[in-house]
C-alpha cells in the first residue's frame, strides 16, 4: 500500500469524475457507487501515508511539467496536507453517501457526482501541491468546479446568481493569488513550496513583501469568505445541501485558511500580517456570528456561522504565535466535523419537512428524535459546550486572544467573548426547531430519514464527542504532525486536555455560554427574533448588493469607455488612421528631416501647368463628389490623364500605358455602378442653405487633416527628390535585364522574371476580387427606388424610349456608332496582340494587352446590350481566370523539372527555316497567364455589373413599371 504513488490521490477523484460523467443521466446508484469507490480508494491510500509522515517528514513526488520555467509537478504531502486530505476525502465520502439519498429522482446525479469528484480532485490538488503555481492551478479549478456545483440547480435564479458571485469573487482572488505567488517566485527564485517556506526571512525583508502579502491574502480571504468578501457564501447556499455540507465545512472555504497556514512560515510573523489577516478575521468573526443570529433559513444561519468560524481561524492565524497556529489547525478540523454534520442535518430536515424556515419549524424532536439528538450535539459543539470538540479549540482561541494583547489590551478578548456569545445565541436558535409543539402546516409530514442518510451525521457526531472527550487520544498525533509540519522547530508545547483548571479561557467560555443564552432569551422575548426579516443595525451592510452594483457599474463603465474611446462608424476610424499618419511620425521621429531650399528657377513651367491642371481636377473632384458624381468622376479622370502624362514625361512609358487602361476601365466600371446610387440633391434644391456649426467644425477639422497629410507627403517627397539616391538594387536589373532576363524592357523583365512572384500574387488579387464581385452581384438586390427604369429611358422626349437595346444598334440612334465600334473590335484585338508581344522588349505586356482586349469586348456590350452580345458570343471568364492562373503557375513550376527554383526563366531558341532564329522565353508564357487572368477578371467584373441592369429591367417589367417621380438627373 505504501508503494502507491501520491499522485493517485489527485488522479483518483478526477478519474471518478470522468467515469461518473460518462454514465447516463437516468442512472442513480452507479454514479454514487463509482464516486464512493474512488473516494474510498483515495482515502485508504491517504490514511496509509500517515506512517511515513511521522517525524516532520515530507513525502514528495516530482513529475516533469514545464522544466523551461523550472517547474515540476510536485505532489507533496506533509502533516498539514495529510490532515486536509483526510478531511477532503473523508467528509467527501460521507457527503457522497448522504447525497445518494438526498438528491431527488429527477436530479441527474451522474453530473452531480462528476462535479463533486472533480471538485474533490481539485481540492486534493491544492492540498498536495508542492509548488505554488501548481497550487494556483488547482485553486482556480476549485473555483470553477464549485461554480458548477453551486449552479447545479441551474433553473433557479438564486443558484445562477450564487454560482456567479462565488465564482467571480474566488476567481478574482485566485488571480490575485497568482500574482502574489509570482512575486514570491520572483523574490525567492523558485516556485517550489519547500524553497519558499525556507526563504521566509528573505521574503519578509524584501521590498516586495507587502504587495506579495496583500495579493496572497486577497486570494485566501476571498476563498475563505472573509470580510469584505464574505457575501458570496450565504448566496452559495442555493446549492444542494450536500454541496454546502462539503464546500462550506471541510473544503472550499478551508482552502483559504489552508493557504494561510501553508504560507505562514514564509509570510507570517510581521505586523503587516497581523493587521491584515487578524483585522479581517476579527471583523468577519463578529459580523458572521452576529448575522447568523438573525437568519431565518437554517442554511443561512449555518452559512454565517461558517463565516464567523473561518474568521476565528483567520484571527488565530493573524495572531501568528505558534500556539495560535496549532489552535487554528485544531479548529479547522473541529469545525469541519461539526459543520458538516449540521449541514447534513439541515438537509435531512429540509428533505423530510420540505422547508428550512426556522419561523415555521417546531418540535421536530417529536418527529425525528435521533436526528434531533445528533443536531443538538453538533450545534452544542458549534456553541463551544464542554466535552465536545468545538469547546476545545474555542478555548484555545480564547486563551490566545487573551494572550495576544498582554495585560493592557483586552480588545481582542472582548471580541472573542462577543463572538462566543453570539455563537451560543445562534446555536440556540438553531436547535429551537427541535423544541416546542410539532408544527402542523409543514409542506411534508416529517419523519426520520432513511438509515443511510443519517449515517454520515452519526459518524461525525460521534467524532465530535470522541474528540471532545479524549482529544489527545483521538487527534493528538494528527494535530502534532500537522502542526509540526507548519511550525517545524517552533513547535510549542501544548496540552490537549479537557480540563486545564480554572483559567481565563474557561472563564471566557463560561461567560460566553451564560451571556449567549441570555442574549438569545432577550432577543426571543423582547425583540421578536422569530419575526425579524433583517439584521438589526448592520442590515445596511449588503455585500451582495455591493457586488451586484459593482458588476453593473463595471458593465456601464466599460460601455462608457467603449463609447468614449471606440466607434462603430467608418468616418472616425479613417479620421484616426489619417491623423495617425501625420501625428505618429511627428511624435516618434526625432530628429526630423530637413527640407532643402526651394529654387523657383528649377521649375519647369510646362510641367507646372500640367500639374496645375491635375491638382485643380483633384481639388475639383473633392469639391464635387457629393452632389455631382459625374463631374467628380470626370475630374478624377482629368487627374488620371495628367498622371499618365507625367509617367510618360518622366520616362515610365509602361506606367503610362497601364494608367491609361486602368483609367478607362475604372471609368466604365464606376459608370456601371453609378446607376445604383441614390440621387443626391444639392442643398440649394432642398432649400437648406446654412450648414450647422457642427458641420463647420467637422469640415474644418477634416480639411486640417487633409492639408496636414498633403503637406507631409509633399515634404517627404521633396526631401527625397532633392537627395542623391542611395546605392540601389535597381541598377542590377538594368544590367541584367537583357543579358540574363532576355528582355530589353527592364520593367517588364522585373514583372515577369526578377519579381515574377509579385506578379503572381497580383493576378491572384485580380482573380479573388473578380470572384468576390461575381459572388456578390449574383445575390445583389437593388434598393426599391433604383429598380425603376432610369429617368432618361422613361422619358417620352427621347424616341428611343421603347426600343430594345439590340434594336437601338440595329436601326436606332446607335446604328452608326455600332458600325464604327464593331469595326474597331478586330483592330483592338490586333492592338492587344501587339502590346502583348512586344511587352518583353518595349512598353506593354500582358496586363495592358488584357485590358485592351477586355475594353474592346465591353464596348460591344455598350453597343448592343448584354443579351445580344451573349447570344452571339460565349465568353467564359471563369475559365479564362483559371487557365491564366494555371498558365502562370505551371510556367513557374516548369523550372522545377529543369532543377531550378520556381519561376526561373528559360529561353527556347528555335531556328526556323524562313523565320530565322526565334526566342521563346518562358516569361512569355507567364505573361500569357497574366493576360488571360486580366481578361477573365475584368470581363467577369464588368459583365456581372452589366447584368444587373438586365435583371432590374426584368424586375421593373414585372412590377408593373414602378415609376418613381423623376427627381433630377445626376449631373
Amino acid at each position: 500500500m505504501t508503494s502507491l504513488p501520491l499522485i493517485l490521490l489527485v488522479l483518483l477523484p478526477f478519474a471518478g469524475a470522468i467515469i461518473s460523467a460518462c454514465l447516463p443521466n437516468t442512472s442513480r446508484n452507479r454514479p454514487a457507487a463509482a464516486a464512493g469507490v474512488f473516494t474510498l480508494a483515495a482515502l485508504i491510500i491517504a490514511i496509509s501515508k500517515f506512517d511515513e509522515l511521522g517525524a516532520g517528514q515530507v513525502v514528495l513526488e516530482r513529475y516533469e511539467w514545464l522544466p523551461l520555467f523550472g517547474l515540476d509537478f510536485i505532489v507533496r504531502m506533509d502533516g498539514l496536507a495529510w490532515l486536509f486530505s483526510i478531511m477532503v476525502l473523508g467528509i467527501g465520502l460521507l457527503v457522497i453517501l448522504y447525497a445518494r439519498y438526498y438528491m431527488s429522482k429527477q436530479d441527474p446525479v451522474a453530473r452531480f457526482y462528476a462535479y463533486m469528484l472533480a471538485f474533490m480532485g481539485s481540492m486534493m490538488g491544492v492540498v498536495l501541491s508542492g509548488n505554488l503555481i501548481q497550487l494556483v492551478v488547482f485553486w482556480e479549478l476549485t473555483s470553477l468546479t464549485s461554480f458548477l456545483l453551486i449552479g447545479y440547480w441551474q433553473d433557479s435564479n438564486d443558484a445562477r446568481r450564487g454560482a456567479r458571485m462565488a465564482f467571480t469573487v474566488t476567481t478574482a482572488g485566485g488571480l490575485c493569488l497568482l500574482t502574489g505567488v509570482l512575486i514570491l517566485g520572483h523574490i525567492v527564485g523558485s516556485y517550489e513550496l519547500d524553497a519558499v517556506l525556507a526563504a521566509g526571512d528573505q521574503i519578509r525583508a524584501h521590498s516586495l513583501y507587502l504587495p506579495a502579502l496583500i495579493l496572497v491574502a486577497l486570494g485566501a480571504l476571498t476563498k475563505s469568505a472573509q470580510f469584505p468578501f464574505h457575501f458570496w457564501l450565504p448566496h452559495a447556499m442555493a446549492a444542494p445541501t450536500p454541496v454546502s455540507a462539503y464546500l462550506h465545512s471541510a473544503t472550499m472555504v478551508k482552502a483559504g485558511v489552508f493557504l494561510l497556514i501553508r504560507l505562514w512560515p514564509a509570510l507570517g510573523g510581521t505586523p503587516e500580517w497581523t493587521w491584515l489577516i487578524g483585522g479581517a478575521g476579527v471583523i468577519t468573526l463578529l459580523l458572521g456570528s452576529f448575522f447568523a443570529i438573525f437568519q431565518n433559513d437554517m442554511k443561512g444561519l449555518l452559512a454565517y456561522s461558517t463565516i464567523s468560524h473561518l474568521g476565528l481561524i483567520t484571527v488565530l492565524l493573524g495572531i501568528g504565535s505558534p500556539l495560535s497556529v496549532v489552535a487554528a489547525i485544531f479548529h479547522v478540523m473541529n469545525h469541519a466535523i461539526f459543520k458538516a454534520s449540521l449541514f447534513m442535518a439541515v438537509g435531512i430536515i429540509d428533505h423530510e419537512t420540505g422547508t428550512r424556515d426556522m419561523r415555521v419549524l417546531r418540535g421536530l424532536r417529536r418527529a425525528m428524535p435521533v436526528t434531533a439528538a445528533l443536531a443538538i450535539v453538533a450545534s452544542a459543539s458549534m456553541a463551544g459546550v464542554p466535552l465536545l470538540n468545538g469547546f476545545l479549540s474555542k478555548e484555545m482561541f480564547f486563551a490566545e486572544t487573551a494572550h495576544v494583547g498582554g495585560t493592557e489590551d483586552w480588545k481582542m478578548s472582548y471580541a472573542a467573548v462577543a463572538m462566543g456569545i453570539f455563537s451560543v445565541a445562534y446555536s440556540l436558535r438553531f436547535i429551537s426547531v427541535f423544541f416546542g409543539q410539532l408544527a402542523k402546516d409543514l409542506p411534508q409530514e416529517p419523519h426520520e430519514p432513511v438509515r443511510w442518510m443519517r449515517f454520515p451525521v452519526e459518524c461525525l457526531v460521534v467524532l465530535c464527542i470522541a474528540v471532545g472527550v479524549m482529544p489527545e487520544r483521538v487527534v493528538g498525533d494528527i494535530l502534532a504532525v500537522a502542526s509540526s509540519s507548519v511550525l517545524g522547530a517552533a513547535m510549542p508545547a501544548y496540552d490537549l486536555a479537557i480540563w486545564h483548571g480554572f483559567n481565563l479561557a474557561l472563564g471566557m467560555s463560561g461567560a460566553a455560554l451564560v451571556l449567549g443564552a441570555l442574549l438569545y432569551w432577550v432577543l426571543l422575548r423582547r425583540h421578536d427574533l422569530r419575526e425579524r426579516t433583517r439584521v438589526p443595525v448592520l442590515h445596511r451592510l449588503k455585500g451582495a448588493q455591493a457586488y451586484e452594483s459593482t458588476m453593473l457599474a463595471l458593465s456601464l463603465g466599460a460601455t462608457w469607455i467603449i463609447r468614449l474611446t471606440g466607434t462603430r462608424r467608418l468616418q472616425p476610424q479613417l479620421l484616426v488612421l489619417m491623423s495617425f499618419m501625420i501625428v505618429v511620425p511627428l511624435l516618434l521621429v526625432d530628429p526630423w528631416f530637413s527640407l532643402p531650399p526651394v529654387n523657383l528657377l528649377n521649375i519647369e513651367p510646362l510641367f507646372a501647368v500640367l500639374w496645375l491642371i491635375g491638382a485643380a481636377c483633384a481639388a475639383g473632384a473633392a469639391y464635387k463628389a457629393k452632389y455631382h458624381r459625374l463631374a467628380a468622376l470626370s475630374m478624377v479622370g482629368g487627374t488620371g490623364i495628367v498622371t499618365a502624362i507625367t509617367f510618360v514625361w518622366l520616362s515610365a512609358p509602361d506606367l503610362a500605358l497601364t494608367q491609361l487602361m486602368v483609367e478607362t476601365v475604372t471609368t466604365v466600371l464606376i459608370l456601371l455602378g453609378l446607376r445604383w446610387l441614390p440621387p443626391r440633391l444639392v442643398p440649394k434644391v432642398l432649400k437648406l442653405t446654412k450648414a450647422p456649426p457642427s458641420t463647420w467644425f467637422r469640415r474644418s477639422r477634416d480639411s486640417l487633416i487633409a492639408v496636414g497629410g498633403g503637406l507631409g507627403i509633399a515634404a517627404a517627397s521633396y526631401a527625397v527628390l532633392m537627395r542623391s539616391p542611395p546605392p540601389s538594387i535597381g541598377e542590377f536589373f538594368v544590367l541584367r535585364a537583357l543579358t540574363e532576363g532576355g528582355g530589353s524592357n527592364v520593367v517588364n523583365v522585373l514583372l515577369v522574371d526578377f519579381r515574377g512572384f509579385d506578379t503572381l500574387g497580383e493576378v491572384t488579387v485580380l482573380s479573388a476580387v473578380a470572384l468576390t464581385v461575381y459572388a456578390l452581384l449574383r445575390r445583389f438586390r437593388p434598393a426599391t427606388e433604383s429598380i425603376a427604369i432610369p429617368v432618361q429611358q422613361a422619358s417620352d422626349v427621347d424616341p428611343t424610349k421603347d426600343q430594345a437595346p439590340a434594336a437601338q444598334a440595329r436601326h436606332g440612334y446607335l446604328m452608326i456608332p455600332a458600325v464604327y465600334l464593331r469595326l474597331l473590335l478586330p483592330v483592338m484585338g490586333v492592338m492587344a496582340a501587339y502590346f502583348f508581344m512586344r511587352g518583353h522588349n518595349l512598353p506593354g505586356g500582358g496586363f495592358v494587352a488584357g485590358l485592351i482586349f477586355a475594353t474592346a469586348l465591353i464596348v460591344q456590350y455598350m453597343v448592343a446590350g448584354t443579351d445580344w452580345v451573349e447570344s452571339h458570343l460565349r465568353l467564359r471568364p471563369h475559365r479564362w481566370i483559371s487557365w491564366g492562373l494555371f498558365c502562370a503557375c505551371f510556367t513557374g513550376i516548369g523550372a522545377w523539372f529543369l532543377g531550378y527554383p520556381f519561376l526561373t526563366s528559360h529561353t527556347a531558341h528555335l531556328d526556323l527555316p524562313v523565320l530565322g532564329e526565334l526566342h521563346a522565353p518562358s516569361a512569355f508564357m507567364f505573361d500569357l497567364g497574366v493576360f488571360l487572368v486580366v481578361v477573365g477578371s475584368t470581363m467577369l467584373t464588368l459583365v456581372a455589373l452589366a447584368h444587373q441592369s438586365l435583371r432590374s429591367h426584368r424586375l421593373a417589367a414585372d412590377a408593373t413599371r414602378v415609376t418613381i417621380p423623376p427627381a433630377k438627373e445626376i449631373l
Binding site: 424616341p799 436601326h811 436606332g812 440612334y813 446604328m815 452608326i816 455600332a818 458600325v819 464604327y820 464593331r822 469595326l823 473590335l825 478586330p826 483592330v827 484585338g829 490586333v830 492592338m831 496582340a833 501587339y834 508581344m837 512586344r838 460591344q860 448592343a864 452580345v869 452571339h872 458570343l873 524562313v914 523565320l915 530565322g916 526565334l918
Partner: protein, 172 residues
C-alpha cells in the same frame, strides 16, 4: 478559300496594321500579321452582323476624299476665324434637317465620318421616323446650301461606293 479567308481585304488591312505597328517586314512578323489578320475577323464575326463592306468605284471614292479634304481645311480655318474674331452674340448656330435616301449603314457611317471630321458640322442623329439627318451647324448662313451640298457632294458618291450593286459582305 472563302472559309479560311472570308474577308481578304480586311485581313490584308489588319496585317498591314500589324506590320505598321512593328515597323518591319521581318518574315516572322509577316506571318504573325497574316495569322492575326485572318483570325481576327473570323473570331469576331459573330459580333459583326453587318459583315464588312465591299467598296466599289474607287475613283469616286478618291474624288470624294479630295473634296472632303479641301472642305475640312477650309472649314477648319473658318471655324478658327470665328472662334478668334467673331462676335459670338450674332453667331447663328442651328440644327438643320437633311433628308437622306441612302440606307446602307456603312455609307451612312462614312457620311457621318465626313461630316464630323469637317469642322463646323456635327452629326446629331438620323430621325427614325423620317430618315432625316439632323445636323448641327456652327455658323449657319444658308441651310439650303448645306442640304444640297450634303445630298449631292457627299451622299451621292457614297451611294455609288456602297450601295450600287446589291448587298455586301456576309451577314452573320
Amino acid at each position: 478559300m472563302k472559309r479560311w479567308l472570308p474577308h481578304p481585304v480586311v485581313s490584308l488591312l489588319l496585317c498591314g496594321l500589324w506590320l505598321l505597328l512593328n515597323q518591319t517586314f521581318y518574315p516572322g512578323h509577316v506571318l504573325l500579321g497574316a495569322l492575326l489578320g485572318i483570325a481576327a475577323p473570323i473570331l469576331t464575326r459573330h459580333l459583326n452582323p453587318l459583315g464588312y463592306p465591299r467598296m466599289r468605284a474607287p475613283v469616286v471614292a478618291l474624288r470624294l476624299l479630295g473634296f472632303a479634304s479641301v472642305e475640312v481645311v477650309r472649314s477648319c480655318f473658318n471655324v478658327s476665324r470665328v472662334i478668334l474674331f467673331a462676335d459670338y452674340a450674332n453667331l447663328k448656330s442651328e440644327f438643320i434637317r437633311v433628308p437622306l435616301t441612302m440606307r446602307d449603314e456603312y455609307g451612312l457611317a462614312a457620311l457621318s465620318c465626313l461630316i464630323n471630321m469637317t469642322p463646323g458640322t456635327v452629326w446629331t442623329e438620323i430621325q427614325p421616323d423620317t430618315h432625316e439627318l439632323v445636323l448641327h451647324v456652327f455658323d449657319l448662313h444658308d441651310a439650303a446650301w448645306w442640304v444640297d451640298t450634303i445630298q449631292t457632294r457627299y451622299e451621292q458618291p457614297l451611294i455609288e461606293i456602297f450601295e450600287k450593286k446589291g448587298p455586301h459582305g456576309d451577314p452573320a
